[in-house]
Every structure is written in structure tokens, then in C-alpha cells.
């Protein structure tokens, strides 16, 4: 059996609590530098939803040494790319640039960690920008469905809102809210610095110490104490809006990523949808939009019910969702889709996946995971993601657990996961106004005489 490979990296901790992971990539002409903060929308409370994401935007707006816009300008002039993203569990900032400019992102990230200025004059402009980002996402039905299914499944835990936050909260927050959030959670004790690429760790270590070593220990423990109570019955919600054809998403609660069953959820995701988000198949580009070898594809797309059918297991620090979704083929109804998805999970509970099929899945998983180390950016992303979710060793553990799984293990995991009591269904229907407009465009039908 093919075995997974792991990139060698050095793992150190500075006195102020900053964890530093260094992963040299031989012969690489670039260096990718990431800082992952273990803080995201899960650390918000009602009234300040969207704060973590808005703050992420504001951290490009200046520090004592970098005036607003200068971070972007300096990195781009050095031939680099930079960006950031905010999730429920973490916020990550990254820069990838030619290796001779390695020190620049280290200077930037060290300043950004504790000395961002959040200038008041930039705040309102950026408020409009984050609202515009939210509106842009709302133009896409899958975003609306995703937001709704988390709101349906979680009533207490902060996973119930999206990292983009509610527009009403973004409208009324002020600088103090963002500043409090920044002072509370940003700091070396809450962050992981990952550097991957063409460098020598022996020479980079002292540079990191120079920039990050003097920072005082700060960053409050971001663990969330709220526990979502058990779900006591199926929940359903129906949305209407613009779009092409109806869409349905059904989700069930899964344990946190630390749970020993995570390797099994990974395989279920791969079996049903054809791709595991943690270990995408193949290189990072031209990612296939369809997986004809996957179970849901065969059951829904090959049969003409749907134009796409996928699964989604997104491991999180706290209990999250495993979901299936499908978009109807033109002329097909939403109840057919829902029935077909539920039939597939019933089959998983009732029958074991053949051993030969499981062997193929494992091979696909390992090859995909091994290719996932290609490039400095992807290597740094992978190390940082698992660190932000708990520890970089999770990567190894989840993969090994998956490789040990038997058909019986998968059947047991499916039986526990897909129970009706914790089922959440979101149906998305295309609004009548759009359908009636489409109808008006067609020429009127002639009635047959006689």
C-alpha cells in the first residue's frame, strides 16, 4: 500500500509563546510566510459578528513603520503576492515572494501582530468594502444556503453565523469593538508563524528571533466555552431567491476535528463526493468540478436528477457539520433530490463499502495528500491549517486513521453520523419573479385548433 509522505519541518516556540514552523523546500525560488491566529468568528458575540473579518481587512491599513497601503505596495514591488482570510476558527495572513526578500514579510507580520494602528479615517471606507464583499457573496445561492444551514444547526454556538457577519452588526460597530478584539486575541501566544520555501532554517531562525522575539507575550486563550446542546429532531428551512434550479443541502453534526473518527469522516467525504477538502485530489489547479467515480455523482448526476452533487466535511475545532448537497437538473424537483441524497446515506448505514472500493479510496487519498506538498504556499498552508485546528501532528494522525479503516468502521461511523434526529435540511427554491421573467421571454404557444 502506498504510504503518505510528510514534509520535514522544524517546530520551535519563542519565549513569548509564538510557535514557529520552518519547512525548507529544496530548490524553490520563493518563500511563503504565513501567520495563523487561532481566532475567528467563533470568538465574536451577537452584536459584533463580522468583527474578526473586518479586523483582518484593517490590518492592512498600517502600523508605525508601514503607512496605510504600504504593506501592499512593498510586497507587490518585491514581486510578491499577499492576502488574508478569516474563518470561524482562525484568521491567516500570507505573503509569497522571491526568496531574496524573505525578511520583508517577517517585518510586516511582527508589526501587524501587536502594533496595528486601525486608523479611524480608514474604518468607514473599509466598512463599505466588507459590506460589498458580503453582498457579492449573497449573489450566489450556495453562500445563502451555507449561511442558513449553520444557522439552522447551531442555536447557541458561534458557528451559527458566517465569518462575514450580519450586515446590521457591521453597520453599527465602531473602532472600539475592533480595537478590543485586536488587543484581546492578537499576540504571539495565540499565533503560529509558518515559513516554507527556498531558505536555510539556520539563517532564518535568528531573523525571526530579531523581529518576533522582542514582542511581549499576549493573546488571550481563544477557546470557546459555549457548547451546542444536542439536537432533538430534524430541522428544515426553505429559502427562495434568484438562481437557475433548486438546490438542497442536508447536514448532520460531527464531532470536533480532534475526535478519533475524523479519519473515517475523511473517507466518507471522499467516497460520497469524490474529493476531501483537506486533501484535494491532484495538483492545485484545474481542479475537477465533477467526480464521476464518486457515489453521489453516480446516484444523482448520472441518473439525470442533478447537475452536481457533492459532500462537504469541514473539520473544525468544535463540533461542526458534515453535509451533502445537490443542484437539480433543469425540470427536476427538490424532493427528488432530497430523497436521493437520503437514500445514499441509508445505503451507507445498511451496507458495507466493498473492500476493493475502500482500497481505491485510500490510494486516491494518499496520492492526493502527497501532491499536496507541492509548492511553498501549499506546504505552509497545510502546516498552518492543522496547527490552527489543534496541532500539525493532526495531519499525520487523521491520514493514518483513515488508512487503518475497515469497511465495518465506515459503516459504524455512517450509522452514528447520519441519524435523523440531528438532520438539518435547507431547500433553496428559485423565486417566482425570475421564473416568470424567463417565461415571458419565450414566444407564446399556439393552441391547436380543433
Amino acid at each position: 500500500m502506498l504510504q503518505p509522505v510528510f514534509r520535514r519541518f522544524e517546530d520551535e516556540r519563542l519565549d513569548n509563546g509564538l510557535r514557529v514552523l520552518l519547512a525548507p523546500v529544496p530548490h524553490s525560488p520563493v518563500v511563503s510566510t504565513w501567520v495563523w491566529y487561532r481566532v475567528g468568528s467563533k470568538n465574536e458575540v451577537p452584536g459584533i459578528t463580522g468583527a474578526a473579518h473586518w479586523l483582518e481587512h484593517m490590518l492592512f491599513k498600517g502600523t508605525p513603520r508601514f503607512a496605510p497601503g504600504e504593506i501592499d505596495r512593498r510586497v507587490l514591488e518585491a514581486g510578491g503576492v499577499l492576502n488574508a482570510f478569516t474563518d470561524a476558527d482562525f484568521t491567516a495572513y500570507f505573503t509569497t515572494l522571491p526568496r531574496e526578500h524573505l525578511e520583508l514579510p517577517l517585518q510586516i507580520e511582527a508589526e501587524r501582530m501587536t502594533q496595528a494602528t486601525l486608523p479611524a479615517e480608514e474604518l468607514d471606507k473599509e466598512r463599505s468594502v466588507v459590506l460589498s464583499e458580503r453582498d457579492m457573496n449573497e449573489n450566489h445561492p450556495p453562500f445563502r444556503v451555507e449561511e442558513e444551514i449553520f444557522a439552522l444547526a447551531f442555536h447557541q454556538h458561534p458557528y451559527r453565523w458566517d465569518a462575514l457577519g450580519y450586515p446590521q452588526d457591521i453597520q453599527q460597530m465602531d473602532r472600539e469593538h475592533l480595537w478590543d478584539f485586536y488587543r484581546r486575541y492578537y499576540g504571539p501566544a495565540n499565533a503560529v508563524l509558518v515559513v516554507a520555501g527556498g531558505f536555510d532554517p539556520a539563517t532564518v531562525g535568528p531573523v525571526i528571533e530579531t523581529h518576533f522575539g522582542p514582542l511581549p507575550r499576549s493573546g488571550e486563550d481563544p477557546r470557546v466555552r459555549v457548547e451546542e446542546p444536542p439536537q432533538r429532531g430534524p430541522r428544515t428551512s426553505t429559502l427562495t431567491g434568484p438562481g437557475s434550479t433548486p438546490l438542497v443541502r442536508i447536514g448532520w453534526r460531527v464531532p470536533p476535528v480532534e475526535d478519533p473518527q475524523s479519519g473515517l469522516f475523511l473517507l466518507l467525504d471522499l467516497y460520497l463526493g469524490g474529493e476531501a477538502a483537506l486533501y484535494p485530489v491532484g495538483p492545485s489547479w484545474h481542479r475537477p468540478s465533477e467526480h464521476p467515480s464518486a457515489r453521489l455523482y453516480q446516484a444523482l448526476v448520472d441518473t439525470g436528477l442533478a447537475v452536481r452533487a457533492l459532500s462537504d466535511w469541514r473539520p473544525r475545532v468544535h463540533s461542526s457539520l458534515f453535509s451533502l448537497w445537490a443542484q437539480a437538473a433543469p425540470g427536476r424537483g427538490i424532493s427528488e433530490l432530497e430523497d436521493a441524497l437520503l437514500r445514499e446515506v441509508r445505503l451507507l448505514r445498511e451496507r458495507r463499502i466493498p473492500s476493493s472500493e475502500l482500497r481505491r479510496l485510500k490510494e486516491k487519498l494518499v496520492r492526493g495528500a502527497n501532491l499536496g506538498w507541492e509548492g511553498s504556499g501549499r506546504s505552509a498552508f497545510r502546516l498552518g491549517l492543522f496547527s490552527a485546528l489543534g496541532d500539525p501532528s493532526l495531519d499525520h494522525r487523521i491520514l493514518q486513521d483513515a488508512l487503518r479503516a475497515t469497511p465495518r468502521d465506515l459503516q459504524r461511523a455512517a450509522s452514528e453520523l447520519f441519524c435523523e434526529e440531528s438532520q438539518n435540511t435547507v431547500r433553496y427554491l428559485v423565486s417566482d419573479s425570475l421564473r416568470s421573467k424567463s417565461r415571458r421571454r419565450r414566444p407564446p404557444r399556439r393552441r391547436k385548433r380543433g
Binding site: P29, D135, W285, E374
Partner: protein, 429 residues
Amino acid sequence: MMSETVRDPLTLGKDAVGQEVDLYFQPAPSSSQSFAASWILLMGSRVDPPGKGGLTAILARLFSAGTERRSKRAFAQELDRLAAVWSSEVLWDSLTLTVAGPADAWREILSLLAEGLQQPRLEDREVERVRREHQEAILRHAAEPAERAEKEFLRTLFPIPHPFHADPVGSPESLSRIRASDVQAHYRRHITPRGSRLVVTSPENPATVLREIQEAWGAWTGPSPPPPLRGFPPPRRPRNGLEYHAITGTREVEIVIGGPSVPRSSPDYPALVLAHEVLGGRPLLSRLFQSVREREGLAYHAGSDLEARHFAGFWTAEAGTGLANLERVSDILVQEARRLAQSEIGDEELRRIRESLLSSLPLSLESTSSAHDLAREVAEFDLPPEHWRRWPQVLRAIRPRDIRRAVEREWFLLEDPLQVAAGPPRPKT
């Protein structure tokens, strides 16, 4: 001729295989462990028969949907086993199939590409499936402001039968007319090794790769490729003002302004690339990003695009914003585009944008994926094999006045560009 000394991903080796296939070989970056191959044929949706728009796009999806040797499922399982991915792209004037995966599986991956291309099944049920998927895509694009604005922009600017007018995916009506027999006939008539290009990015020795390709591709024969496109109608002059498409239930307005431009072969192309980078192409540094997002906070995204195909091109500036800011943002897009012709770009601004563009080239040389994209461009547009090696020199020779002149000459309608927007219904005044 390819030689074993070619180890620079910016300099391609070129050779011929069998019946007029041009092979472009690019050494994979030394830190990469993957392999990629693309097959390019200069046909695309322009060869769709009248009334059957979308035929090439359907055919393109069927090359991985089963072959004479393997069912669709077996083909997919073989791709899975190799951890390889397959993709297809149809534009107005090109069809590209790409397959990529681990470097140690390069022989099997190349062989799958040849098998899918040379022996596709083209079954009725698969034609039906792809038709359904494309019908849904057309409905989706009509309901999403960004897609809708872009498609309406092209439809308005380029009259029938200009190739840009028609969506390569087709229309609901044209898709409903296509039968499996049409797809099979289209394959026989147009899919050919003659005049096609095979682009390979691999850490293997080029001579070894060439031998393997000769074996799998050397005996393949086919018809003549379609002649270059000539004689299409000129673009339309737009009516004054903004063309607005209301989509009930959407939140953000997407605006596209622009006009026709020149093909990729134009000598002005490098200067136009710099004009586009200054206007909106360079992320975060461009004029549009700086004015629309950074200075005024009016939108999340604002940028520009430069499409230069074999037969013609177009330029655009785009942004997404709220209804309340629609007019302000479209004014900025128009003003910033006009400014390129009204005054020369400052030396310092040009230096900053150009050097940012050029110094990011090493980023493309880390992974097979980004290096392969560079090689594909060389192959598709018949550029010299050392094009990317020379590119910095070409861009550094361009002066601000060259850009201004090129824009004046080749970005048509710059003074009065077509303006199209799509988004939520506007309140009645």
C-alpha cells in the same frame, strides 16, 4: 529540436510529432513533483454550425466520459488511481484539454490523454448529461450579476455573427437542437492532430518524453484544421448611458465598461498589457483598485481585463458595488480608462507596476501548474520558445508615450465606452 540541455522552464523545446502535431516541452521547476500536459487545437466555438451553438463545448466535456477501451467510470477510476485531474476549456477560437498529476505517473497520464482524445465514446446518454449541465449553467449565469453583465456586454458590443457575440456554451435553443449524431460528426470533422499543439511540463528527460509521445500520437490522423477566422462584422457603437439588467433578489451590482481591441498578434500587445496592468490588472496597486476601493471605499473588487484572441480582442474595466454607488463607480471606471489616453503614465508609476509584474515571474516557476500556464500561452499563440526569457526586455523597452499611443490606437471606444451593469432592480424615479 529538443535537446537534453533544455532545463530552463522559461525556454521551451519545440519538435514535431507524427502528422503535424507541434510538441512544446518545458522542464518542470526543480522543486516540483508533478507533471502536466495540454493539447490545444485552434477551433473553439467559432466552428459551431449555425443554430447549434454549444456543440464544441459539449464535445469538449466528453473526452473524459469513456473511451473505446474504458467505460466512463473506469476512466474516472484510472484518473483517481493516478491522482490525476482532467479539465477542458473551450473559448471562441480554441479547445484545450489538460491533464496533470504526479511526475512518477507521467507515462500513464500522457497515455490517458491520448486515449481520451483519440478514442472517445461520445454516447447518447453522456451528450444528454452535458446538455443538462450546460442548460443549467446558462440559467445560472443569467441570474448572477457578474456573469450576466459580462455576457450582455459581449452580446451588445459584438453583433451576430461576430464570434464574441455567442456564448461558447450555447443558448437554451441551440442546445435543444444538438443530438449525439451531431457531436460524433463534429468530432470527425474537426478533431485532428494537424495543426494541434501538445504542451508538456515534466521533470523527465525531453528525449524520453518525445519517444513516448511518438508512440502514442505518431499514427493518429485527422482532417485539415479549420482556416483562420476572417470576415466578421465590426463592433457596434453603443448607445449613450448605462445598459442595466435587473435580477430580482440579488444584492450587488456588477458593472462592466469597455470596448473592442486588437488580437494577440498586434505589435501593440505588450504596451496594452502594461496599460491594463496600470488601469486594473495589478492587484492592489492598480489605479482602479486604489481609487474605487482604497480611496473611496466603494467596492470590494475593482479591476480590468484584456482579452486578446487570435482574431480580435476587447478591453474591460469592472467593479461590484451597491445600487447607491452605481453611478459614482461607473463614472470612475470611465474616467480612469480615459485618463490612459489623456495623459502619459508617470515614469515612477510605470516602473512600479512593470517591476511588480516582472519580479513576480519567479513565483510562476515554483510549481508545475503556473509554469505550465506560461508554456500553454507560448504554444497557443505561436510565440518564440524563449518568449518568457525575453519578456522583461520587451516590457522595459516600452515608454509611457508608447502606451498612450497604443491605447489611443487600439482601445476602441475609450472616450465613450459601452457600459453594462446587472444587479437588483433599480427603484423607480
